[in-house]
């Protein structure tokens, strides 16, 4: 009995830590919900005026390059590019970067769009992988299309190539297989252009789940709830993170991530900050970190905008294996980015970025899954040792569970208010999924995160964890 005091203290402390963490979490998410609500209302009111389409032909409208990296996309490349070429905007260019595909991606495009190689002088100090050729179409109808054929170097390298070859004011980095609504570029231009005091260095948008939706001729005809269970969970998750999370971060100008599937950048700043990092799998997050740091260090007023309108639709993975791999990669990218910019951690020099955004990412995006995992292990251990405080355990589990379900419901409410695209029945199904999510989907996410961290932290050091991924998967 002599060590009961010791156990007592340890268990108590552990409980207190869990309690604190949970309370902060609740507070954080509540504040997030509040900010998102406020901002959504404001945004909707502000944008109820005016018609975007009339502006597209203006002589003052800026030029945009859409960079779509393609790796082994032979299956759908022709249709995907055609849909990109039919956006409602005048001054834009679609630059497809064929990243050394092993299939017939390039050949298909050459045939479908009647491409010919053109001469262009290339910077002798070229940093990206060598370019094999630049192609343009012989047809006037496809004059917006440029295809760049280069050696394989990964997604970041492909995007960098596009960025350096573009001469337009803004560049958009998108996944070639996602569906952009025709008015997408108008919204993007508006976001870049409506600020007057600050320079808008990047614009991100919502990614919506396109699984099971009816898409015909490159247009979204009917929004439907995904049939697949995993996709349903992801839809719920995307709703939470885009409708509430990013909206809230956007409202306090602390957005740290712009999805690789739909992100637009001020080319000058992006290039000046060094473009995409080719050594990380989380390049879409890393570039925003770097561009923000760049502006901070130059002491220039800037902002990152977020468009809540549903402009970009993408298919989410429906198989567990692909899904786990994706999340695994995300958490590795997260860790890499956080490590690379660790000097921002609670660094007042970076303002909100250092004091709020970075710590949030550190504690709740990176540390939380680890804590959960080890918390679960210790519960098992405590139970085995017979020192589990069942009362406390039950209470805290119930609280966390009810909070997470409530938060999901809140997100669904906003989804209905903001978009109202799903039927009542589908909303009901989503709610049921929100209740079972903590038991099925959440463990899967946590597991992926643990796997990613494990890979990154241990295998890299032992020498064979270098990035082997040269293609890029979805979302």
């Amino acid at each position: 009995m002599f060590d009961s005091d010791f156990f007592n203290i340890v268990v108590n402390y552990i409980n207190i830590i869990f309690l604190m963490f949970t309370i902060i979490l609740f507070t954080g998410y509540t504040v997030m919900g509040y900010l998102a609500t406020k901002h959504t209302l404001h945004y909707r009111r502000k944008n109820s005026f005016g018609d975007l389409s009339k502006v597209m032909a203006s002589p003052l409208a800026p030029s945009i390059t859409i960079i779509a990296p393609a790796y082994n996309e032979g299956m759908n490349i022709v249709e995907n590019v055609r849909s990109l070429l039919s956006l409602n905007y005048v001054d834009y260019e679609v630059m497809v970067v064929n990243d050394g595909s092993k299939d017939d991606t390039l050949e298909k495009m050459i045939i479908a769009y009647d491409l010919v190689k053109i001469e262009q002088r290339i910077d002798p100090n070229w940093k990206s992988k060598p370019i094999r050729g630049i192609y343009k179409s012989k047809h006037k109808a496809f004059s917006k299309l440029t295809v760049i054929d280069k050696e394989n170097g990964g997604k970041s390298d492909a995007l960098n190539t596009g960025m350096q070859l573009s001469s337009n004011r803004y560049v958009g980095c998108i996944d070639v297989d996602c569906l952009l609504l025709p008015e997408a570029l108008l919204h993007v231009v508006k976001s870049f252009y409506q600020r007057s005091g600050k320079r808008v260095i990047a614009v991100g948008g919502v990614i919506r789940v396109a699984n099971s939706c009816k898409i015909a001729g490159g247009e979204l005809e009917e929004v439907r709830l995904p049939k697949n269970w995993l996709a349903k969970f992801q839809l719920l998750e995307y709703t939470r993170s885009f409708v509430l999370g990013r909206m809230a971060w956007g409202s306090i100008d602390s957005l740290l991530i712009i999805s690789g599937a739909f992100g637009f950048f001020d080319r000058e700043i992006a290039v000046a900050a060094g473009g995409y990092d080719t050594n990380t799998v989380g390049e879409d997050m890393e570039i925003v970190f770097r561009m923000r740091r760049y502006m901070h260090e130059k002491k220039l007023p800037y902002t990152v905008e977020y468009i809540p309108d549903p402009l970009c639709w993408t298919e989410v993975p429906e198989e567990i294996k692909i899904f786990v791999n994706q999340r695994d990669r995300w958490s590795r990218g997260n860790l890499e980015t956080l490590t690379k910019h660790k000097d921002m951690f609670f660094n007042p020099k970076y303002g909100r970025l250092g004091m709020i955004s970075y710590p949030y990412w550190f504690f709740y995006e990176w540390l939380a899954p680890l804590l959960e995992f080890f918390g679960f292990l210790s519960i098992l251990l405590f139970y085995y040792l017979g020192i589990l405080n069942v009362k406390f355990f039950m209470a805290i589990t119930a609280a966390v569970f009810s909070f997470s379900v409530m938060f999901s419901f809140f997100a669904i409410l906003w989804e209905v208010y903001a978009y109202n695209q799903y039927k009542s029945k589908d909303i009901f199904i989503l709610m049921i999924f929100a209740i079972i999510e903590p038991f099925i989907f959440h463990p899967l996410v946590t597991f992926s995160a643990i796997r990613g961290n494990y890979k990154k932290l241990f295998k890299v050091k032992s020498g064979w964890g270098t990035i082997t991924r040269k293609g890029f998967s979805k979302a």
Partner: protein, 124 residues
């Protein structure tokens, strides 16, 4: 005089009812459809109208697809007038390539529409 039958495909309800009213007043027999699906159903269920006036952007079937359907599936040369929204010049071009006879751009002037409709019908 037999009334000319006109098919108006336009998804904006207010505008379409207004145009229908105006066209009726000028002595046309106007049938109204609001989307691509209905256009197809109408064309299959009835005799072909004397002229079609269609919005270029419609749910389920765009104006261009409509022209394609009429020209290539139904093999008809009946006049088709396209109403396009501003800044959609490229679509208008492809509409003409598909065989549209004339086009008007939004915002629409009803009196202009009447003139065009009369002109196309006189040609036939």
């Amino acid at each position: 005089m037999v009334k000319k039958r006109l098919l108006l495909a336009e998804d904006d309800e207010l505008l379409s009812s207004l145009l229908k009213f105006r066209l009726k007043k000028s002595g046309y027999d106007v049938d109204l459809v609001v989307n691509g699906k209905e256009v197809k159903e109408y064309l299959n269920a009835n005799n072909l109208p004397d002229i079609i006036v269609s919005d270029i952007m419609m749910p389920y079937m765009s104006g261009i697809e409509l022209i394609d359907y009429v020209r290539n599936q139904l093999n008809s040369k009946l006049p088709i007038i396209i109403i396009s929204s501003a800044g959609n010049e490229e679509n208008v071009l492809s509409a003409f390539e598909m065989g549209a006879n004339d086009f008007l751009s939004k915002p629409v002037s009803p009196s202009e529409l009447l003139i065009r409709v009369a002109r196309e019908l006189n040609k036939v």
